[in-house]
Amino acid sequence: MESEIIYYALGVVTSPFIGSLILTIFAFIHYAKTHGHEETEENNHEEHEEHGLKYTPLENFVSTIGILSIFASWVFMLLLAIKFFTTEHHGAFLTTSYDFFGFPVTQNIQVGLLVDALSVYMGLIVTTLALLIHMYAREYMHGDKGYPRFFATFNFFTGIMLSLVFSSSFFELFIFWELVGLSSYLLIGFWIFKPSAAHAAKKAFLYNKVGDVALLSGFLILYKLTGTLNFMELPDKIHNLTPLQTALISVLIFGGVIGKSAQFPLYTWLADAMEGPTPVSAILHSSTMVKAGVYMVARVFFLYWQAHEGEYNFAGDNWALAVVAWVAAITALLAGLQALVENEIKRILAYSTVSQISYMVLALGAGSKTAAMYHLLSHATFKALLFLTAGAVIHVVHTNNIWEMGNLRKKIPKTFTAMLIGAIGLSGFPGISGFWSKDAVLATVYYSDVPGNKILFTLGVVTAFITALYTTRFIIVVFFREPTPENIERVEHAHDGGFFLTIPPLIMAALVILESLTFIPTPIFKFEEWLMEWLEPGVHAHEVALTLPILSAIVVLLGIGTGIYLYYYNYNILASLNQNKVIIPIREFIAQRYYIDKVLYWIANVPAMIVSRLLQDIDIKIIDRTIIDTWIVKGSLGLAKISDVFDQGIIDGIVNGVWMIALTLGRAFRKLQTGIVSNYASIFAAALVIFLGYVNFLIFIK
C-alpha cells in the first residue's frame, strides 16, 4: 500500500519532466532546422482570426504532448490523493530518499519524495490548475513561433513545482526553489525580443536570489546546529536549539519567502513579471510559484512554532512569528493600495496577488498553518481564473489598460461570466470561497497572541475593504462603463475566444462555485476543521465569535458598494478626487511603488557601480600599473633617488671641500673624455697593467 503511494507520487513528479524532455529535444531539433529565423516577436492574432483557428501540425504535436503529460500527472495525483486520504491516518507521512552527495558526512542531506497531507493538498492544487492552464495555453499561444519553447518550459515548470511540493529535505526544496526561479525567469523573458521582458526577467530572478541567499544561510545554520536537513528528522532535533538560534534561522528562512512570495520590500518584481504570457502569469505568478513561500513556511512550521513557544515578551527571542506577521500585514496594505491606482489589468491582478499572499503569510505569522493553506486553495483557484479571463480580454481587445476597454459584458459573455465569478471570489463576497478563507485568516489573527494582533487584525480588515474596492473597480471599468470614443472601435470587434480559451476558465469558475459550496460550514462538514485535522493534528480551532464574519461581510459589502458608487454611478466624484491637491501626491507616491524600486535601483546602480568601477580602477591602475610596472621597475629608481639625496646631503659636503682640486684635475683630464667606450676601457686596462706591475714589484722585492 505504501509503495503504491510512492509510485503514484513518482508518477506525479516525473510525467511533466518527461513531457518537457521530449519537447526540449523537439525544440532543439526545430531550431537546428530553422536556425531560429522563423521566430518573430509578434503574435499574429489577426491572421488566425481571419482564417479561423487552425493549428499547425507542429502546434498540435507540441500542445498534445504538453497537455497529455500534465494530464498523466493529474491522474496520478488524483489516484494518490484518493489513496492517501482513504488509507492513511491524520498527520501520517511517507518518505523515500537517497543520498545525494554520496559520502558519509553529508548523509543527512537527502533527496527524495515526502508524501503527507500538506504535499498532497498542495499537489492537487498545482496539478489541477496546471492542467487547465495548459489547455488554455494551447489556444492562447497559437501563432507564436516560440510554441515548442513555451510548452517545454511550461512543462518543466510544472515538474519543478511538483517536485518542490514533494521535497523531503531543505536541500531538495532549495534546489527546486531556485529552479522555479529559473523557469520563472525563462517564462517572463519568453518574448525574448522585448527589452522590457528581459529587464523584468532579470529583476524577478535577482529579487528572488536575494531571498534565496537568506534562505540558504538560514538552513545552513540549521544544518550546522542539528546536522540534518531532512524535514522528517528536523522536528526531533530542534528542541536543543536556543530560542535565539531558532528565531534567527526562522527569520532568515522567511527571507526566502520575502523574495519568492513577493513580500515587502521585494514585492515589486511580481508586477513587472506580467511581461510574460498570460498563462505564465496565471500559473506562476498567481497560483503556484509565488505560493511556494507559504508552502515552505507551512512545511517547516514546527520551526516557527518552536521560535514562538511560550509567552511573547520583547526581551525574549521569540519574535520570529511577529516579524512574519507584521511584514505580511504591511505588504497586504501596500500592495492593496497599489492595485487601487494601477491601470493595467494584469498588474492590478498582480498586486492583488501580493496582497492576498500576504494574507496567507499573515495567517502563518499568527500561528495557523490551516488558515494559510485554506486561503491558498481558494485564492489559487479564483486568481488563476481571473488571470485566464484577463488574458482572454487582452487577447480580444489588444490592450492591457482598463481605461481603453469598457462595456465588454455583451461582447464576450462567457469570459465575462467567468471573470465575474472570479472577482466575486476575490472580493470576498459573503458566502463565496474567498469570504470563508479570508474569514479564517482574520479570525486567526484576532485570536492569536502575536504582539499587536489587534492592529494586525485592523490592517487585515482595511485590506479586505480595499480588495473589494479595486475588484469592483476593474470589473466595472472593463465590463460596465461605456468606452471612451477613441476606443469604441477596438471594443466593437471583440468576441469570445475559441474552445480552449473559454472552457478552462469556465471550469475554473465551476470550481470556485464548488469550493464556495464546500466551504460553507455546516454541522456535518466543516472544511476548515477537516483541513486542520489533516495538517495540524491535535490542534483545535478557536471558537469564532459570530461578530467577526459579520464585520467582514459588512466591510466587503461596503467596499463593493463604494466601488459601484464611485466608478459607475458617480464618476464625477472620482474625477474631482483625482484633481484634489492632497490626493495627487499620495496617488503619485503609490503609483511610484512607494519609491521602493527607485531606492533598490539606486542601490543596485549607483553604489554598486561605483564600487565596481573603483575596484576595476584598483585592478588596472593600482595593481597593474603601479605595483607591477612602477614599484618593481621604478622602485629601483626610487632607491637610486634616496641614495641620491644621501649623496647630495652628506657626501657632497665633503666633496665640495675638494671640488677645487677635482675641477683642476678635471680640466686636465677633460680631453680623455672622448665618449667612446673603448677608450675608457683602454685606460682601465692600462691602469690594471700598472697596478699589477706594482704588485709584482712588491712581491719581487720580498
Binding site: 618593481i632 690594471l688 697593467v689 699589477l692 706591475g693 709584482n696 712581491i699 719581487f700
Partner: protein, 174 residues
C-alpha cells in the same frame, strides 16, 4: 700516463687560446659567436681535466647552449652589419696591443709568484672525480649544505629576465 694528460692539456689549452683569438679576429660577428662556442667548449674540457665533470656539463649547457643562443639572437636582431677587424696592426691599435701583452705578462707573473708563496700540495692533481664521483658530491652538496643556492640563482636569473624584458619591450607594448 702523466705526460699524456699533460700533453693533452697543453694541446687543448693552445686550441682554446687560438679559438679565443679567432673570436676576436674574425670579420663576421656570426663567426665570432661560433668561435666563442669552441672557446667555451675548450674551457669546459679544462674543467674536466681539473676534475669537475658536472661543471663541465653546466658550462656546456648554460654557456655554450644558453648564452650563445642569446648572442646569436642579438646578432640577428641588430642586423648583419659587418665590422672589419682592424688587425692590421694599425697605428691606432698599437697601444692596445701593447697593453694587452703587458697585462698577460704581469698577470701570469703575479699568479705564479703568489702560488709559489703559498705552497700548495705540489703539482699533484687531486682528481676526486675519478675516486668519488664528483657529480654525486656536487648534488649532495647542492641539496644539503648549499640548498638555497638554486633558488637564489633562480631569483637572480629571473630578475635578469624581468629586466631584459622590460628593456626590450617598447613602451607601447607595456
Amino acid at each position: 700516463m702523466g705526460w699524456f694528460l699533460e700533453a693533452n692539456f697543453i694541446l687543448i689549452g693552445i686550441i682554446t687560446i687560438l679559438m679565443a683569438f679567432g673570436t676576436l679576429s674574425t670579420k663576421k660577428v656570426m663567426r665570432a659567436a661560433a668561435f666563442l662556442l669552441l672557446t667555451l667548449v675548450g674551457v669546459a674540457l679544462t674543467y674536466l681535466f681539473l676534475g669537475f665533470e658536472f661543471l663541465m656539463g653546466i658550462q656546456i649547457t648554460v654557456y655554450a647552449g644558453g648564452i650563445l643562443i642569446l648572442f646569436l639572437f642579438s646578432v640577428l636582431l641588430t642586423g648583419h652589419e659587418e665590422f672589419k677587424m682592424d688587425l692590421e696592426f694599425a697605428k691606432e691599435n698599437i697601444v692596445q696591443i701593447l697593453i694587452s701583452i703587458l697585462l698577460f705578462f704581469t698577470l701570469t707573473a703575479l699568479m705564479l709568484s703568489i702560488y709559489g708563496n703559498y705552497q700548495l700540495t705540489g703539482n699533484e692533481l687531486v682528481l676526486q672525480a675519478q675516486t668519488k664521483g664528483l657529480t654525486q658530491d656536487f648534488s649532495v652538496a647542492l641539496f644539503s649544505h648549499f640548498n638555497y643556492v638554486l633558488p637564489i640563482l633562480g631569483v637572480l636569473l629571473f630578475s635578469a629576465m624581468l629586466g631584459s624584458v622590460k628593456l626590450v619591450l617598447r613602451e607601447e607594448e607595456l
